[in-house]
Amino acid sequence: MNPVSLLVFDALLLLSIVGLAWASLATSDIRRGVILFMAFGLVLAVAWGRLLAPDVALAEAAIGAGLSGALLLAAAHTQPRPLPPESTNTPRNHGAVGVVLRWAVTLLCTALAGTLAWALLHVFSSTPHDMLPGAISANLAASGVSNPVTAVLLNFRAYDTLLEMAVLLTAVLGIFTLGQANPGYQPAGPVFDGLVRWLVPVLILTAGYLLWVGAHAPGGAFQAGAMLAAAGVVLRLAGRTRIGLPEGFMLRLVMAAGVGLFLLVGLTLLILGRPFLGYPQAWAGTLILMIETAAMLSIAATLVLAFLGGRPEATGVKAAANRQCEEIPRC
């Protein structure tokens, strides 16, 4: 591969990434900013591919650009358009203090960037320590999977992933306490409905494939969970009332399944005399697949609930009976 052409490609890619980031933050129209942010996420995914990080590229395209963009766009549409002048940051006469403050903050951020760059250049020019990648490739055969990123996520650093699942659970519980879900969308017309009819099964299949293939190729629980969440979001956007989320107790079970199964496996291993989450080598692959399945369901439920924006409105016979009970005081 010609190094000069790679350099040109890198320069163009980075220029578009930085340009998109700047443009998304420089507009006063929030909707334009969000859409530019989605484009920024997608071009960033190309950069991940260039830097030999396909797992991260999949996750960025699905979660970072897709789901984040959907969340932000749904929120941006509740803003009135156009924005009233008081809440934009278009250049206008703040007075001297306002301008000085803006310049001070800009200087501060430039200084931060400069310090970071200096520190990084210092790190890059010193001799590289290759201990960690060497240790990982030496122990990869014993980890139960052959994809190094999956091995790091679910075996070598499984504790971090457990805590991450706990963070997801906390976030969705926080969202639950803040109110009811957003009102749904109107039922889709024939074109969108036709797309949804075949897109959702394909998404579910792809999620299953990504979960399975994550053991030996780019993929894994996070990307699979994002695919399932995308199926739920698409069903929600098409105005369906049933979007694949379980209800009541089952919903709580699915939400807690990620952390729950992780803890169960860890504590069982602890009881059996092994270190916490120290899988026995013969069982490592199976345990990782089990934990990844629970994590995928949990992540999908969390992301769909995040898109819903609050406690889901209950559907079904039992819920209708409950609603009737609320209307009659003595029930």
Binding site: G189, V191, F192, L195, L199, V202
Partner: protein, 94 residues
């Protein structure tokens, strides 16, 4: 030989993308812009994928690329329809 053919296909795809982008920037109203974007970009993607498929010379990769093209075709057609329908409804109201 295959490389030259695939390069030609990729360049043709890029040309169509360029045409679609110029259409997005220069055409007067929403509907003509949607038309330019959807048609040119889908054809551009198809040519790009044909070039990449030729370059890869692996049947599985060719099939995956074809699936990608079909999925993007369906998604972009549906979203163009939704955007145009919403714009039409807002015009009728105002």
């Amino acid at each position: 030989m295959i490389n030259i053919l695939s390069a030609i296909l990729i360049l043709a795809g890029v040309f169509f993308y360029l045409a679609g982008s110029i259409g997005l920037l220069r055409l007067p109203d929403l509907y003509s812009r949607l038309h330019a974007l959807t048609k040119a970009d889908n054809l551009g993607l198809g040519l790009l994928i044909a070039g990449l498929a030729l370059h890869s010379q692996d049947l599985l990769i060719m099939l995956k690329l074809l699936l990608i093209w079909l999925a993007v075709l369906a998604a972009s057609a549906t979203s163009a329809h939704l955007i145009a329908r919403q714009a039409h409804r807002q015009e009728k109201v105002s």
